[in-house]
Each structure stands twice: as C-alpha cells, then as structure tokens.
C-alpha cells in the first residue's frame, strides 16, 4: 500500500455523540461486513461496553475505500471512548493518527469532552474535521452548532460535515473529506524501524497481541524485534492489519497501523508506549511514548476467596497490558488477606476494572472504599502521601494536611445554573466562574476537592440537569484540609476495608450515612448485626440489622424441582460473592455503596 493512500484517524467526541454509530456506518460503507454479521456499535466488543452502551476501549479497524478519484485507500479508523475517565484511551489512540473527526451532536452542541478531546488532538498536531452528527433529530440545530464550531472551537467552517450516523446521510461525504483533508502519514519506510506500541492484548494461544503504529521502517515475519525499553527481543511470527478479525500481511511499513505476534508469553515484557525496533538494525532512539498518567482514585482489590490471590496477580498483569492506565502494588488487610492497591482514573474506570476482572478472569472481588491521595505534613518535617486509610498517621503527629483540588468545567443550559451552583457548594466548591459560550448555555468552572467529586458527582450532575449537564476536570493543586479517619465496626469488629478518610466537619454526617447505606446493602442474616461508625475510639453513629426471620420457599412439587434447585444454586452463587467478616456476610456492593449519596 503506497504511503500516500493511507489515512490514520480517530473519531473523537463527547460521550454519546455517536462515535461508535458513525464507525458502524463507515465500516458498512467500505463493505467490511455482511448484513448478517452486522450489529449496532460493532466495535464495542466487550460485554460491559454493549451492556452499558458506552465505549471503554479504543478500537482500531482498517477499511479499504475506493475514493471518487478512483484510487484505493486504506483507512485506519480508531473509535474512541467519550467518558472523562477514559481520556487516556483517546490520547493513546491519537498518537497513532494524523487526523481526527470531531463529532458534535446537532442537538446538544459543544460539551465538556468536546473541548477536552479537541485540545488533546491539538496537542498531537492533528488535522481536524468537525462533523455535526444526528441531523435527523427533530431538535437538531446544525446552524448554531456550526457557529459554535467556528467561534468557540476556532475551527474552519468550510470543512464542517453534516451527517446522521443513524440514517447514513452525509457519510459518503465524510469518507471523501477524510481522503481529501487528512494528510497521509509521513515516516520513512527505509529508515530503521520505529514502531509505537499503543495497545496490547493477551491471548492464551498466541501470546501478547501488540497493536502498533509503524512510524519509520518496516517489519515482517521472521524479523527479530527488540523492545527498546527493556532490551528484550523476540522473533516475529506474524504481522497484519486489523479487520473485524486479524488479517495477516507480508509486512507492515511506515504509516501503517497493525498488529505483531511473536509468541510472547511473558506478559510484562510488552509495555504500551514502548518502541519496537529491529535487533539487527536498531533505531538510534525510541519514540517519545506516552505521557505519564495520573491516577486519581485509589482502592484495594481483594479476591473474595483468599486462595485466589495468585490468580488475581496473573489477571492484573494481563489486564494492565490491555489497560496501561491502571497501576497496582501488593497490599494486605486483616479482614481481607492479600490483594492489590490500585490507582484508577476515576470511579467508572474502577467499576470497569472490577467488572473486567470478574468477567474475563472469573475472580469474584471486593474493592475497598475508594480514596484520593492526601498529603500529610508531619511534626518532624516530613511529608507523607497517603491514599490508603490504613496508613493514616497518628493524628498527634500531623502538623498540616492537604488534599487534591480539581478545576471542574461544567456545561449546562442556563436554567440549571441555580441547582448546579448548589451542588458545587455542597461539595465544598470555591472560586466559581461562568460565562455564556452561546445564548442560553453556560460554561461554569469551579474548584472542588477531588474527594468530593470522585463518587457520584457526575451522576448527580446528570440527574439535576436532566441529562443536559456535562463535566470535565483536571487536577490543579493541593490545598489545606482537615481529615479524620472514619472506621466502621460490624458486630464490634473493625472492617479495615470500610474505613475512609473524611473531612472533619462532615465526619458525623458521613458516619451516619455509611451506617445507613450498609444497612441497606447487607442482607438480614441469622443473627442481629450492629453497624457502628467510629472516629478514634468514639462511636459517632450506629444502626442495627435485625435477624433474618424467614427465608423459605413454600411450594415445591415434582414440576418445580428443577426450578427451585436453580434458585437455590443462584442463592449459593450470590453468597460466594459476599465476604465473610467475623461471621457477617458483606456483599461486594456494600464496599462502594458507603460513598454513594442518599439523594438517589
């Protein structure tokens, strides 16, 4: 494939603006799937993506496209996620592209992640084609959105494409625009190999499947490749392009995006962001790779059954290969045994990791109450960074405490201004500002402690704005705080996994709240359960769960034996998903529920 007929581009947008649906249309237009193979959001291949209707992982596919100029082009499309927690996925996708389609919902206009993702694309110097999607909607207002694109985003109006990813209208023009306006990759196929690993996946038969963008040089089966970070080399078994399934090719060359198989069974050898070169003719230096990413939420993961620790360890290795934004290190708890302390990009990221570990590796897990990372300045002049309540220093040794603040950018229709203000104030927001990017819409900024937004800020925002609010944030600095450790006792026994660090002024109310939530989440058991919140030695809140009085199936005759047995089997499986602390069974959900707000 001559380099000038290759186009590498991502589709980026705010969440739900239609990236995956547009990808579907492009794939179909290029004749990649038969009608029978087709299903909506084809590239959302993980079960959680399909169930939640959102994209979590970027997905690459190579489309053959016969353009109006008569030439056959090879289009590497990357569908990206829109949710704020996965912007790292977007930036990795962009690193393998020369251009991006920036999708904007014709009824919603520019939203928080529209801007955030546009800035990312600009960081990579990409050519951008703005696409106004969902023009089929009765509430679509492409004219004002076009104005926003010009005035707010500063993008050229002449390149704007109008389309409906749903009906397919305008999609042909988008394909032509891709060929016409996006530049072909630069790179030199005759230079020493430099291939950027932008993703990887572990396959138990073929070993690690490396997704890479060839920047310079070429690679083929039989070559000996070298990972530049750790100097480990492997003999290449197969290279190829991403179709709906892998399509082997003779070689990959500069400008192309594809995969490499080399029978790599040591999961940790491959590092996304690393550069691959050839052992015999190595490049002089690696590519810049990816920016270090900052985890913002921390929680410990424990297998419910303590003898699954080894399985969990190997699952974590494989998962971090596929999700480099996850960090982990060994951790232990008196109640839960051995596990891992993990860093996540947000709460949705955390939930996704939990679900993926359970589904892809079949390990039932407990996650401890999530926390942010605090700075404790001690009397002896040292500073400790602590993200785990278990390591909360002796309060008498603390001279000063700081917590991370973020700057939140919120886009809302004007009418929700009051309730969003109130939400931000409730969450200890400061320095609020706002302006009108277009009549009737407000862009609102506010500085808020990260701890106040990690859990359900986004859900609350969505609900008070009836789905019209959007939100983006970045860490700004650490500010003075005053924290206490809130412990939870279940039948008198402290459950370290339920401890949290809370803002002193909110402690009592948080303690009450945690007890109430646990009361809702812990099912009645054969005996009475006392739940208490404590700070230091002082009990600040308590609830009790009465003993289970009945749990019995009344009717069971010949025809229902199978069904009743299955119900009991389900009950048994449910119990396996609970952690027994002392003699109390605590369901998985309870550990995260203590942070959820009651207003739901």
């Amino acid at each position: 494939m001559p380099q000038d007929t290759i186009r590498n581009f991502s589709i980026i947008a705010h969440i739900d603006h239609g990236k995956s649906t547009l990808s579907d249309r492009l794939i179909q237009k290029c004749g990649m799937v038969t009608d029978r193979q087709f299903k909506d959001q084809l590239l959302d291949s993980m079960d959680i993506e399909r169930e939640r209707g959102i994209t979590i992982k970027s997905q690459t596919i190579c489309l053959p496209y016969k353009a109006k100029d008569g030439k056959l082009y090879s289009l590497n499309l990357v569908d990206t996620p829109g949710h704020v927690d996965f912007s790292y996925e977007v930036s990795r996708a962009l690193s393998s592209c020369e251009g991006a389609l920036l999708l904007i919902d014709a009824a919603q206009g520019v939203e928080a992640q529209t801007l955030a993702n546009l800035y990312l694309a600009m960081d990579y110097d990409l050519e951008i084609i703005p696409v106004i999607n969902k023009i089929d909607l009765p509430s679509a207002d492409p004219e004002s959105v076009a104005m926003q694109i010009e005035e707010d985003l500063g993008l050229e109006a002449e390149h704007i494409q109008l389309c409906s990813a749903k009906t397919g209208e305008g999609v042909d023009d988008i394909l032509e625009a891709i060929v016409k306006y996006l530049p072909p990759p630069k790179g030199d196929a005759d230079a020493p190999l430099q291939a950027l690993i932008f993703d990887a996946n572990y396959d138990s038969f073929r070993g690690t499947i490396i997704s890479c963008r060839i920047i310079n040089g070429r690679i083929k089966a039989g070559d000996t490749m070298l990972f530049m970070a750790n100097k480990i080399s492997y003999k290449v078994d197969e290279v190829g392009l991403f179709g709906l399934v892998r399509q082997p090719r003779k070689e990959l060359r500069a400008g192309e995006v594809g995969y490499i198989l080399a029978g790599i069974k040591t999961v940790t050898d491959t590092k996304p962001g690393d550069t691959i070169t050839l052992k015999d003719a190595p490049a002089s230096e690696p590519l810049p790779g990816f920016k270090e990413i900052q985890q913002v939420v921390f929680s410990s993961i424990y297998p419910i059954s303590t003898d699954e620790y080894e399985n969990l360890a190997s699952a974590m290795e494989k998962l971090t290969l596929n999700d480099a934004s996850l960090t982990y290190q060994k951790d232990s708890s008196t109640a839960l045994g051995f596990g891992f302390r993990c860093g996540f990009l947000g709460l949705l990221h955390l939930e996704v990791i939990q679900e993926r570990l359970e589904r892809e590796f079949d390990i039932p897990l407990i996650l401890t109450v999530p926390s942010v990372c605090y700075h404790f300045h001690l009397e002896d002049g040292t500073m400790k960074e602590i993200d785990n309540p278990a390591y909360f220093p002796d309060p008498s040794t603390i001279s000063r405490t700081e917590e991370p603040f973020i700057k939140a950018t919120i886009h809302i229709p004007e009418r929700y201004m009051g309730s969003v203000m109130t939400l931000c104030m409730e969450r200890r927001g400061e320095n609020t500002h706002y302006h009108y990017p277009m009549p009737g819409r407000i862009e609102f900024t506010c500085e808020v402690p990260l701890a106040e937004v990690i859990y359900d800020f986004y859900d609350r925002l969505k609900s008070i704005t009836q789905g019209y609010g959007s939100f983006d944030y970045k860490l700004i600095d650490y500010r003075k705080s005053d924290l206490v450790k809130l412990d939870i006792l279940v039948n008198g026994e402290r459950v370290d996994a339920l401890s949290q660090l809370v803002y002193r002024a909110n402690a009592r109310q948080r303690g009450l709240h945690a007890c109430e939530r646990l009361k809702e989440e812990i099912p009645r058991q054969m005996f009475k359960i006392a739940i208490q919140g404590a700070i230091g030695g002082t009990i600040i809140s308590r609830t009790t769960i009465a003993a289970l009085r009945k749990d019995v199936t009344a009717k069971c005759y010949g025809g229902d034996i199978s069904r009743k047995r299955k119900l009991l089997e389900k009950q048994k499986a449910g119990k396996k998903r609970m952690k027994t602390v002392g003699n109390v069974d605590i369901p998985q959900k309870a550990f995260l529920a203590v942070l959820k707000s009651e207003e739901r």
Binding site: M526, A554, G558
Partner: protein, 393 residues
C-alpha cells in the same frame, strides 16, 4: 414418540415404585397470581385434550420402564380438573388404572376448585376410585379472594368441602395462602380457624410467591398492592405452627400439615426425588433421574401426540452428584428428614464424606441435626430453610 431411550437401571429396588401425574391445564378463569400451566376460556379444547392424554398414557404404559414398575399413586392436577365432564374424568382414571400396574390401594388424588363441582361429579369420582380431594380454597376472606382474582366466595369453598364429605371423600386437603397483599395476622387466623373447623385431614399452606409476568406482579410493581413485610409474614408462620398443632394437624413438610396417616404419599414421593411419570401439557416426569417436561401449550401438545411426535419440550439429566444434592435439598423439606442409609445406598455416596465441613458447620450452628439415622432441619432452621439448603445444593 415415546422415550424408549430411557434405559431401566436394573437392580435398583427403591426405584421400582413409582407414581403418575396427569395434568389438566384448564381453568374457569385465570387467578391474578397464577403462573401455573393453566388456561381460561379454552374449554372447547377439552375433548381433544383428553384424547391426546389417553393416547400418551397408552404409549407410556407400553414402555418397558413402565412395565417394570408398580404404581401406588395417581394424581390428577391442574388447572382445575373438575371443570371437565364427569365422564371424561372417570374414563381417564379407569384407563390409567387399567393401563399401568397399580398396587392394591393406590392413593388417587383429584385437584379441584370451589364452584366447579357438584355432589354428582364428586360422587362419580369416588365411584371410579378417587379417594383424596385437594381443594384450592386459598382464603376464607371474600375481599382477599376477590383481590386474588379467584372465581369463588368463601361460602362456596365451605360448601365444596361439605359436598365432598357427603360424596364420600374421607381424605380431604385444602390449600390456603398467606402473605397476601392486604392480609393481616387476624385475617390469617380467621381463615385458619374456619379451615380447621371443617376438620380436613390435610392442609397445604403457601406463602404467596409473586411470579414475573402475572397481573399480581404488575400490580405490586405499579404500587397498586403491597406485600406484607418479612416480619409480618414470619408472624403468620408462627401463628400457623401453634394453631394447627393444637388441632392435631401435624406439620410433616415445610408447607404441609396432616392428621396421622393422612400425609400425601404422592408428594412424599416427590420430596424423596424418586421416579414418576408426568403426562399432559406442561407436565414433568422423572424417570430414573431423567426429567422430562411436555410442551406447555395444550394445542401443541394435542398436535404432537396426534402426529406421533415427541411431546417433550425440555429434558434434564443431572449427574449423580447433582442428583444426590438435589435429593438432599428436597428431602430436607420433610420434617422427618432423610433416611441417611437409604440415601447413601441409592447414590453409593457418603453424606459426611461428600459434604465434609459444611455439614459439620451446619450441625454446629444447630441448623441441621442427625438423629436415629435421619438428617433433618432443626425446628429453628425451618423458617430459614433456604439459608441451609443453599449451602447444600
């Protein structure tokens, strides 16, 4: 096509005795909570249905498996069998008794609902050999009956019972339900008192289970009805236990109470997880561990039988360990429990060896007890039986 593929595992003496269940899937109207295989307004299919049912009986009776068995119970359930003509029912029973080898005094039960019977119909049933009647009463409160969508009144239920006695039934059971929306402890006491005043030999008492897809489920979901809370229902169960014990009705299974010798032989056979033949639309049978269910829709059933096609829509064959566990959880429903010796011989597996620590824990927690060679739930465990069974399943 009859299930000729079912090999008869020879030499299993305990399995030589079996029972027969015949399903009549027709009702006068559909009760709001009902998820059974029953249909209202399809009485025009009854004639063809009985033909098909008789035909399935002939096929099954000719099977070597049936030939090798002696049958000690016949149960005609529904639906409401008694909305069918006396002649059809009489014919069915006679055919069945003729086609299969029955023991000398088989238990022959017919299910019925008030206001579908007359003294003549009942008398005709007695004449053909029916000796046990199970009446679906559900409640003696007219307002509750109405909210359940039952087609009869409390008085009609009492009348049905009296007629059954007059017709000669000396073994009568009634079904009652508790945990109903709007039901109070007082009402439950009232229903139980009326029921016991009629002096039945047997009572089956069921907590209402709200099944997905029923009008009752929709009503509750929509906030149009409220179920009593766990504590209220528990109170009803406590009341039941004390009230019936005083009347000489002994609890012999989680939901069943009987005077001495009037326990249901048919149902005990189910709880022992033994073999029976199930015939009719939607009926399940279990032949030497192979469980088969007929297609539920009567018209399809008739069609399949007529065309000599397989009437089964589901089949389940569990491995020995699973059947062992299933037998344990079914058997523990009986107050007497499971005879350990029989169980271990039947499956060639050791109870303690198989369950190990789980069994030990449950006995230590006083939820299970082993005495006189029986494994059973303790009195305290009966109300929370699922907590125990879910560990053994």
């Amino acid at each position: 096509m009859p299930p000729s593929f079912i090999k008869d595992p020879a030499g299993n003496a305990g399995d030589k005795k079996a029972t027969i269940y015949l399903h009549i899937p027709f009702c006068k109207s559909k009760c709001h909570y009902c998820s059974f295989n029953s249909y209202a307004g399809r009485t025009n299919e009854i004639g063809d249905y009985f033909k098909a049912l008789n035909s399935q009986m002939r096929d099954m009776a000719a099977q070597p498996w049936s030939q090798n068995r002696s049958f000690f119970s016949l149960y005609i359930g529904g639906g409401t069998p008694t909305i069918c003509d006396s002649a059809l029912l009489a014919d069915l029973i006679k055919n069945c008794l003729r086609l299969f080898h029955f023991t000398d005094h088989p238990e022959i039960t017919v299910e019925t609902n008030p206001n579908t019977i007359s003294t003549e119909k009942l008398y005709s049933l007695v004449q053909t050999g029916a000796n046990r009647l199970s009446i679906g009463v559900q409640s003696f409160s007219n307002s509750l009956l109405l909210s359940l969508g039952r087609s009869h009144t409390a008085d009609e239920a009492k009348h049905a019972f009296t007629m059954a006695r007059q017709a000669g039934f000396t073994n009568i059971s009634m079904d009652l339900m508790y945990g109903l929306p709007g039901q109070t402890l007082q009402e439950w006491r009232h229903s139980l008192e009326i029921a016991t005043s009629l002096d039945p030999e047997h009572l089956s008492l069921y907590e209402l289970m709200v099944e997905e897809g029923t009008p009752m489920a929709a009503k509750i979901k929509g906030g149009g009805a409220f179920l009593p809370g766990e504590d209220d229902v528990a109170d009803m169960e406590e009341l039941t236990a004390s009230l019936l014990a005083a009347k000489g009705l002994k609890r012999y299974e989680i939901s069943n109470f009987a005077k001495p010798v009037f326990t249901s032989q048919h149902n005990i056979h189910y709880w022992q997880n033994l073999s029976w033949i199930g015939m009719g639309a939607g009926a399940t049978g279990s032949l030497s561990g192979i469980r088969m269910t007929n297609v539920p829709d009567p018209a399809t059933y008739i069609e399949n039988i007529r065309n000599k096609q397989n009437p089964y829509s589901e089949m389940e064959c569990l491995c020995r360990q699973s059947r062992f566990r299933e037998t344990v959880i079914m058997g523990l429903r009986m107050i007497e429990g499971i005879r350990i010796d029989d169980l271990e011989k039947r499956f060639a597996m050791g109870l303690e060896a198989y369950y190990g620590d789980t069994l030990k824990e449950l006995t230590e927690q006083k939820l299970l007890e082993i005495s006189n060679g029986f494994l059973r739930l303790t009195a305290a465990a009966l109300t929370v039986a699922n907590q125990v069974l879910a560990r053994l399943v």
